[in-house]
Amino acid sequence: MFYIFCPYCGEHREEEEFHPKGQAHISRPADPEATSDEEWGDYLFFRDNPRGVHHELWVHAVGCRKFFNITRHTVSYEILEVYKMGEQPSITAEHYAAQQGAASADKERNASQAKHQEGVRA
């Protein structure tokens, strides 16, 4: 069960008050007349479907009814950030990978240190 912070209401509310609306930051073709079938199809139907960090649009359906964005991990489901319409995410897939990399490098270092210390003790 998600506990989602609505950036407009300024509080955490239960998942059931919200609706997910799919991928965020999709902009309508600026010049429809000049848009090819291929581009229309891409705009209408093709979505990122990442296993990992995903930027998505949500609506606080039975609250303030405003739309906003969430950056969420699609495997752990962890909500990494919430931001208003018109704003850009601060956490992206690259950024997240770098962070995780640093964290696991830390862990490895700790682990090897632990092994090292164990060795000393023996």
């Binding site: 069960m1 059931e16 997910p20 979505r47 969420r72 699609t74 495997v75």
Partner: protein, 416 residues
């Protein structure tokens, strides 16, 4: 292959069933095959079987990252029907239905296909109009179907609340008598065993991590057990298809969502058919073991975690108890999720791609189990001939750019 029969059962009883042959080999990967199938679910295994049996292509590997059938194949609620609205999908699902009807004999494996009929219940006038339209379309396509009124539904399912007092009164239903359920594990295992007997290599615990592509032509895959080559690769990876496509530099119009199901404790036989309702959003049948098999809706957000959300469980059980007050005190035993690859028009993708030799069979979303034999058969034909089978042709990826969608949301959107 050791044939299964009643006589065999008796014979093996004499040695306490300790001498049954293994159902399939556990081969080491060869360097190269004629065809590689990525994904050892029902659809991938069926494809391999028909390649070997019908099209004489036996130098085939099925590469599965986990165990055979461990994806959606063994996680679904096993409903099989073919009453889809449009000609294209009706042809595909009815092709599968005909194969289901002889499947246990064909692969010498009891898949427990039980044609106990499926009811798609209507609760509003519009539901009933849609049902009438769909049943008429089905009949024009030679698919069995009847429109029942509330009384007819009540006669078939005495324990269902068909009274006027229900919150969403039952007004009628479509009824497909040839529809039913099958045992999902047996479908995967049966195809696996039959394919293996024809020489197909089933490589389990082998994950495809990339495609080998040169000058726009695929020539193999990278796996955690080394590279394996083939000039024809069929990717049949359901919920993981978006990730696979990205490895090949292809876009697919898919979104992966968790879909969950639950089963109750076993109870005495009370329900001898399958009841589905789009309107209250639940579907139910009773397995031969006696447990109620209940399906839920998808979680609305994208997800790859094979579990479902609690609110969805709650909504589903509300719907079931609404239709079947008698079940209000039955306890649920297990709950699980699978990752379904939903497509914008609720129809699958069976298609070539811009990479020569690389084919995708995916987008079955919430309802592909019923299509397993048909999907495998037409996909095998397409891989063998290098030309999409006529039944598969309308399901090309191109339709999302040409606009030739096959909108099955009415027959498939909620119902599985």
């Amino acid at each position: 292959m050791q044939r299964y029969s009643g006589f065999g059962l008796v014979k093996h009883a004499l040695s306490h069933h300790e001498n049954w042959e293994r159902q399939w080999r556990n081969p080491t990967p060869k360097k190269a095959y004629d065809v590689i199938i990525v994904g050892g679910g029902g659809h991938g295994l069926a494809t391999a079987y028909y390649l070997a049996k019908e099209f004489g292509v036996t130098n085939v590997a099925v590469i599965e990252k986990g165990w055979l059938g461990g994806g959606n194949t063994a996680r679904n609620t096993t409903i099989v029907r073919s009453n889809y609205l449009w000609d294209e999908s009706a042809a595909l699902y009815e092709h599968a239905m005909k194969l289901w009807e002889g499947l246990s004999q064909d692969i010498n494996y009891n898949v427990m296909f039980s044609q106990r009929g499926v009811l798609n219940v209507g609760h509003t006038l519009q539901d009933m109009r849609d049902i009438q339209r769909r049943v008429n379309a089905n009949r024009l396509n030679g698919i069995d179907g009847e429109v029942l009124d509330a009384k007819g539904v009540q006669e078939l399912v005495p324990i269902m609340d068909c009274s006027k007092n229900a919150r969403y009164p039952v007004m009628g239903a479509s009824w497909q008598p040839r529809a039913g359920v099958a045992r999902h594990d047996a479908v995967a295992w049966g195809y696996a065993r039959a394919a293996d007997a024809l020489g197909v290599d089933l490589l389990q615990n082998t994950e495809v991590t990339g495609f080998k592509i040169r000058d726009g032509q695929v020539y193999g895959v990278h796996t955690n057990r080394g590279d394996i080559e083939a000039k024809t690769v069929g990717c049949v990876t359901a919920g993981n298809s978006g990730v696979m496509a990205k490895m090949a530099g292809i876009k697919l119009p898919l979104e992966s969502h968790p879909l969950q199901a639950l089963v109750s404790e076993p109870i005495k036989p009370v329900l001898d058919t399958v009841v589905m309702s789009n309107h209250v959003h639940g579907y139910i049948s009773q397995s031969d073991k006696g447990d109620l098999v209940i399906g839920a809706g998808i979680d609305g957000y994208n997800g790859y975690g094979q579990r479902g959300s609690y609110p969805t469980v709650e909504h589903t059980l509300q719907a079931i108890v609404e239709m079947f007050p008698i079940f209000s005190r039955v306890r649920m035993n297990r709950q699980w999720g699978g990752i379904v690859d939903t497509c914008p028009d609720a129809c699958p993708i069976l298609s070539k791609t811009k990479v020569k030799g690389l084919y995708f069979n995916c987008g079955w979303g919430t309802g592909g189990f019923k299509a397993t034999p048909g999907s495998g058969h037409v996909f095998a034909a397409s891989l063998a001939k290098g030309e999409m089978h006529p039944i598969a042709k309308p399901f090309s990826i191109d339709r999302f750019n040409t606009g030739a969608l096959i909108d099955e949301h009415g027959a498939a959107g909620v119902a599985h």
